[in-house]
């Protein structure tokens, strides 16, 4: 492709520009107050999911515990405001850094674990968040939580409260998206993918596996911390119950639904996670769980690789249909460049003897 700008192909560039324009103009023309606020949550969630994708989709380490890092971020913001009266705008970056440090440190014991064992360790983290917060009630105000002031438009653009929160979350999400894109597109991204696909081969090629894996944990937790901080600012309230198990599960859902190992996936996954419970409520009013579960199952039937994975398959199919003669070339080129979406269990699991000798475990 010759028409590229910032590494994007012509069509991708157009789609991105249109999407960005819609995202920027929507709260002014399309969305009412409720929807504007919900989309502010979508952007905050998208940040957390981008971070989770760096960890699981790119470095192949599963985490069910990023909800805990969101809790660290949210409480850093809340405590800085509550105890030290720091204006909330100045608490977002520290929230990310504190959570990121926590994640980096957590990455060291995690080096020993993989697959379901790592899933349990991170799960432990997710489950510990709420009891630990309740236990240190001198700092965190325990069960009652901390009320934050409503975040008002500081520049006097005449934005409503919700619109300001929307733009704040959107701009931070875009910045972090671009940062992740730059990082994953370069040597770091290649190193992480090499580790995901084969740790041994990566180590043999001179990649410091431990260094990159702990770094992935740190980056992922940094993103989760920023997302948690934004969550606290948007809600104007933090309480331990917000960071319980359902949060970590919805992060997992968002990541897989969006598409593992993709950068656009987290945005779509975040929208899914924020909106699905609202729709499920409308479908079966008294038991939304049933609708939520059924939609999740059906979606996985239709799009086992997530939304972005499915879109890629569809695009490949369309390209083959419309230009049969050159399509095969481009399809194979595409396959070489991006490869199939690989996932965490394809990293060598401990204790498996059969599958490595007898081929794929399920075929």
């Amino acid at each position: 492709m010759d028409r590229t700008f910032l590494g994007l192909g012509g069509r991708t560039w157009l789609i991105s520009a249109v999407a960005l324009a819609v995202a920027l103009l929507a709260p002014l023309f399309l969305l009412d107050r409720f929807n504007t606020l919900q989309f502010a949550y979508v952007w905050a969630f998208a940040i957390a999911l981008i971070g989770l994708n760096v960890l699981t989709g790119y470095s192949g380490q599963i985490s069910l515990g990023n909800g805990a890092f969101m809790a660290i971020g949210a409480y850093t913001t809340a405590i800085l405001y509550y105890k030290l009266k720091v204006p909330y705008g100045w608490t977002i970056l520290p929230a990310g850094l504190v959570a990121g440090l926590g994640g980096y440190l957590f990455g060291f014991p995690s080096l020993k674990l993989s697959g379901l064992y790592l899933a349990l360790a991170t799960f432990a983290l997710a489950l510990s968040a709420s009891p630990v917060i309740k236990n240190f009630d001198g700092l965190t105000n325990g069960h009652e939580g901390i009320v934050l002031p409503p975040a008002l438009d500081p520049f006097g653009f005449g934005l409503t409260n919700e619109q300001w929160l929307y733009y704040l979350a959107l701009i931070i999400a875009i910045l972090l998206f671009l940062f992740a894109r730059a990082m994953l597109g370069g040597a770091t991204g290649r190193a992480l993918r090499a580790i995901r696909d084969s740790e041994t081969a990566a180590a043999a090629s001179g990649i410091s596996v431990a260094q990159f894996k702990t770094m992935a944990f740190g980056v992922s937790a940094f993103y989760a911390g920023i997302a948690g901080s934004l969550y606290a600012i948007i809600t104007a309230f933090v309480s331990p119950d917000s960071f319980d198990l359902p949060l970590s599960l919805s992060l997992l859902v968002g990541m897989v639904v969006g598409g593992l190992g993709t950068l656009a996936g987290p945005v779509l996954g975040a929208a899914f996670v924020v909106w699905l419970p609202i729709y499920a409520q409308q479908i079966i009013h008294n038991r939304p769980d049933v609708a939520y579960g059924a939609i999740l199952i059906l979606l996985m039937f239709v799009l086992p690789q997530g939304i972005v994975g499915g879109a890629r398959q569809l695009a490949g199919w369309y390209r083959r249909r419309s230009r049969p003669e050159e399509a095969s070339d481009e399809a194979s080129l595409h396959a070489v460049r991006t490869g199939p979406v690989r996932d965490w269990t394809e990293a060598p699991l401990s204790g498996t003897t059969g599958p490595s000798e007898g081929g794929s475990p399920r075929s």
Partner: protein, 295 residues
């Protein structure tokens, strides 16, 4: 000292419940490398069927027990055929998400059918609530029933996998799917059977804990958590490990709850930290194999 023994005995009893659900998780993990989030909810649903048979149809407890297990095996098989089969070849995380969807559906359905009002569930007749005293340690007969049932269950499964042709076929299908298919094993149906067995084993765990915890659609959620921890602690591929892990988790939680001051809220967190610490020393679980990778 008596106090410690007392706690260990009651820990073993609840541990038995974790062990049987952990066993169910391991059965499915071995065949598809995915954690079944819905395992606890399936067990809860089975327990409601047993409740219906005992309290509404007025069936004998043991007859209801046996029928429930049979119905659960059929139900588990059916669920695999209808819900899991379409994603059999998808990445394991996709399968995990489907089981998470199943979790919500089963929980919501149970709530629709039986409501969220908690119900008493009878214990096994012939094992009265009144405890007996052995050397100063009081032991509930129901607790004993629980421990014995878990060990019996493991024995039955061991015999099934070791000594029957079907068991051999299931092991082969899980370990070497392609070779097994060439030899005429219907690997896909074996997966369904694995789900059936897991559902049956899970039903036992549900019926064992219901007299202690009462019956409601959310009763298995903490159990699933401990069972997950137990399965991983024992080594996720190993059924014996799951049972050992289940008993260990039960005892560990009982001891932490009693002897660590102020640990009421933090009991779970403490327990998990200890388990993770053990895993860092033995990354493949207590009875699992060491991490080996073929290059």
């Amino acid at each position: 000292m008596q106090g410690v023994v007392q706690q260990i005995v009651s820990g073993l009893a609840t541990g038995g419940v974790y062990a049987s659900l952990a066993l169910a998780l391991v059965l499915i993990y071995r065949s598809m490398e995915a954690l079944n989030f819905a395992q606890g909810e399936m067990a809860m649903f089975s327990t409601f069927i047993a409740w219906e048979l005992i309290s509404v149809v007025h069936l004998n407890y043991y007859a209801a027990f046996a029928i429930t297990i049979a119905v659960s095996i059929a139900g588990g098989f059916l669920i695999e055929r209808v819900v899991i089969r379409p994603v059999e070849k998808a990445p394991p995380l996709t399968v995990v998400l489907v089981t998470l969807g199943l979790f919500f559906v089963v929980n919501g359905l149970a709530g629709l059918i039986w409501s969220y009002v908690i119900k008493p569930f009878p214990g096994p007749p012939g094992f009265p609530q009144a405890p007996i005293s052995v050397g100063g340690v009081t032991v509930g007969l129901q607790d004993l029933f629980l421990i014995v049932m878990t060990v019996v269950l493991l024995g039955i499964l061991y015999a099934f996998f070791q000594f029957t042709k079907l068991g051999l076929a299931m092991r082969a299908a899980a370990l070497y799917p392609e070779t097994s298919r060439l030899l005429g094993v219907r690997t896909s149906q074996m997966l369904g059977l694995g789900w059936g067995l897991a559902a049956g084993v899970g039903a036992v765990s549900g019926m064992l804990i219901a007299p202690i915890e009462f019956l409601d659609p959310n009763m298995m959620q903490p159990v699933l958590l401990y069972a997950f921890a137990a399965a991983v602690l024992g080594g996720v591929e190993n059924p014996v490990g799951a049972v050992v892990g289940g008993f260990l988790v039960g005892v560990l939680l009982a001891l932490i709850g009693t002897y660590v001051p102020g640990a009421r809220d933090l009991r779970l967190a403490f327990g998990l930290v200890i388990i993770v610490a053990v895993l860092i020393v033995r990354p493949g679980g207590l009875l699992g194999r060491a991490h080996l990778a073929r290059v």
